[in-house]
Every structure is written in structure tokens, then in C-alpha cells.
Symmetry: C2
């Protein structure tokens, strides 16, 4: 099989420093994790917070800690650091080659969509508190066997807030289905969702928005890996 992962990310309009952080890490026993956090509020403080959360989670994952435990470690440490007064959201999208599983972990009211060839698209159920608010919070963890055709999509709430300035809203589920029908690739879904959000906000996003998509498809189990990053470089 083959994994395609795609990320699309934009900062709130006129804010140089977005509040979202997203990192990809190779897992010590094979596979990758995309770790996505949105810090409460926006600007430099939010960025510092989401970066702290992602670093904490990535450091745990790099040591072989499982996703749920890594997320709980971040919750507990953030709670102790700020006495429950500061919070962030967290999504971990993992392809775990050792367990041959897709593992989806989240803290906070984040939507994660999963699509399988048999069951179509659905939004993962359940409400989960934000990370850092409660001493004994637990993340929601969903585990699915790695299968060809599997699609998973996580995003920060900027995608939900898109259009709010003009009273419009994106139906994320419907948008994923349309984009997927037009071109069934991770990149088309991630870039297409961001494009639609930007259109609703007339190119001036009301919030930081990050979208991460994983797609498992047929393919040879060996061969080269590729990564590509495209980002604007502000002038001095």
C-alpha cells in the first residue's frame, strides 16, 4: 500500500504569526504522525502555546509513547503549568506501521472525518474537552485497520469559522465528498478545503486554519519516499 499525506495551512488575515502549529514526525517503529494544535486565542501567545503542545506530543511519540498517552501527558503537563487556565486543541493523525493501524487522537471540540470505501464518510462522534482544562481529561482515540481506500481528515476550527463574517458556513462533510469525487487524492482534499474556506472569507481568513489529510491507497510496499513543502517568505 501507499500513504499520501497533505497539509494546507493559512494564518488569520493580517496576522503575521498564526496560532496553529502542525508537525510531521517519523515514528520510531515505523509510520508517521501528523500533530496539529490550535492554541486558545490568536497571535504570538497562541502560537507559543500550540508549539509547546506539539513539541510535548512529538517528544513523547519520538520516545515510543503511544498516541493516547502522549496526548494525556500534554494535557496533564499543561494543566499543571497553568492551573487549568490555558487550553489548546490537539489532533494526532497516525499511520502506525508496527500496529498496522490508523490511529486518530483528539482533545477539544475538533472534527475528524473518516472515509472508507465500504461505509463512506462520517464524522468521528463524541465530545472531548480541550487540552489543559481538566486534571483528569482523556482524549478520544479511534483505531482503524490500515486498508486501501482509507481517508482521514483533521482540521482546526478556522475551517468551521470560515464565512462567519458574512454569515455563511462551510459544510465540511459535503465539501470533502465533492472534492474527493472530483479528484480522490489527499492533496486535492486538503487544498480544496482551504480554497473553499478562503473563498467564503473573500481571501481574508477570520481565523488560523490548518487542514491535514491522510490517504491510504493501493501501491507497492517499498520504494522511495518524497516530501514537499511550499511556504511564503515574507520580505524584510
Amino acid at each position: 500500500m501507499h500513504l499520501s499525506a497533505a497539509v494546507a495551512k493559512v494564518n488569520k488575515w493580517a496576522v503575521r504569526q498564526g496560532g496553529d502549529t502542525l508537525e510531521a514526525i517519523e515514528r520510531p517503529d515505523g509510520g508517521i504522525s501528523l500533530v496539529l494544535s490550535d492554541g486558545q486565542r490568536s497571535g504570538a501567545a497562541a502560537k507559543q502555546l500550540s508549539r509547546w503542545v506539539v513539541r510535548k506530543v512529538v517528544t513523547e511519540l519520538a520516545e515510543g509513547v503511544r498516541d493516547g498517552a502522549a496526548a494525556r501527558a500534554a494535557n496533564d503537563a499543561l494543566y499543571v503549568l497553568h492551573g487549568g487556565k490555558v487550553s489548546a486543541t490537539l489532533v494526532i493523525l497516525t499511520v502506525d506501521l508496527a500496529a498496522h493501524a490508523l490511529v486518530l487522537t483528539r482533545f477539544g471540540d475538533l472534527s475528524v472525518f473518516v472515509r472508507t470505501p465500504e461505509e463512506g464518510l462520517h464524522r468521528l462522534p463524541g465530545e472531548v474537552p480541550s487540552l489543559g482544562f481538566y486534571r483528569h481529561a482523556r482524549p478520544a482515540v479511534e483505531t482503524l485497520p490500515l486498508d486501501s481506500g482509507l481517508l482521514a481528515c483533521g482540521f482546526t476550527d478556522g475551517l468551521i469559522h470560515a464565512g462567519s463574517r458574512t454569515g455563511r458556513q462551510l459544510d465540511v462533510g459535503a465539501a470533502i465528498e465533492e472534492l474527493w469525487a472530483a479528484e480522490p487524492t489527499a492533496r486535492a482534499v486538503a487544498d480544496g478545503l482551504l480554497e473553499r474556506a478562503l473563498a467564503l472569507d473573500e481571501g481574508r481568513p477570520v481565523d488560523d486554519t490548518s487542514i491535514a489529510v491522510l490517504h491510504i491507497r493501493e501501491g507497492e510496499g517499498t520504494g522511495p519516499r518524497h516530501m514537499q513543502i511550499e511556504m511564503p517568505v515574507p520580505d524584510v
Copy 2:
């Protein structure tokens, strides 16, 4: 301006676990770093070592430590851990938005090529000991102002060893120039170099090979960011 980064990576033939590790990290005060390490020997021990080096460097960079100091920290810590008996190579390719500079840092006999529109392609001069061998080793650090047209290419020695089974060798500099002339993008250079190495090895690479390319070009200084990862998923 705009940054395109591309990575292409393949494991030694018939070795499931390659010895190279490559990670990308967003820098705390803006920009990204690609951190690439090749552990001595191959297989699981080499992978553990290169992962340790990359984690050490990434952790330092995430805390705001500058590249040269992060590389020295990894050297010193590895030296103390193994008494100078274990070594790795290291390249850090950085776009530092705070300093508005491209920073190229390396330990070990690794080639890094830089191309500017004015001066063409050249290989960074100087020999640098491998990381972990000496108590007081210093990395080579090259700093260039961020300018449109700038290209930087770092790779592990698998690219140099390609073809050695059949007595052939890749002229990396000439290959970069040809690929760049045909299609001046980071992706074309990274993927093209790997393709040529694989061709010399008849599809059975004699060593782990990782290639990282950064390209700064004209472009708007704001807008979305994109990342894409493609990797094989071995069957159970």
C-alpha cells in the same frame, strides 16, 4: 519571496529499516529547518543513532538554539554517550526568517551544493569531521542572505556511493545543473537526483540515500502553506 523544499529518500536495497533520518521543523522565530543525519553502518543500529542525532538537534532548534550550537550540542552529547566510538553525519538546511538568511550547517564529509543566479553552482568547501568522534569538533556553518533564485542541496553519502557495485559514479554537480536546466524546481532536483542514483544501482540501492533541496524564488510574501508526504506502506 517563496520557499519550496523537497526531499527524496530511499533505503538500501532489501533493508527494511534505512539508516538515514530526515525531519523538518518549523523554527520558533519563523522559517524551517531540514535536519538530515546518516548513522554509521546500516540497519537498526544506524537508524537508532541517526534518529537520536536528529531528535537532539530538533529539540535544541525548537528551543531557539542556533544551528551551529545545536550541532555542537549533538556532537558533544554523542561523544560523551559513546566515548567517541560512534559517529554520524549531519546536515541542517535552514531558512531563518528572523535573520533573513539561509544557514547551512554540517558535520562529517558531506557535500552541500549551493547555486546562486550570479555565481552558478558550487560545492561548499572544507572538510569537517563526523559528529561524535572528537570532544572539540566544530561544524562548518555557511550563512547566505535570502535571495530569489537561491538553491541549496544536501544529501547523505548514498548518493556518492550509487553505482559503486558496477564501478560507476554520479557526478552530482553536473546532475544538479542538468536537472535544474530542464526544470528549475526543488522537487525536480531532489527527485531527479534520486532517480539517477537508482538507475546507476539498477533499482537496488547500495546504501540509504536521502536528498534535501531548498529553493527560494520570487513570490508573494503571504498566503497558504502546503506540505505533502508520499511513502510506501509495507504489507503486514
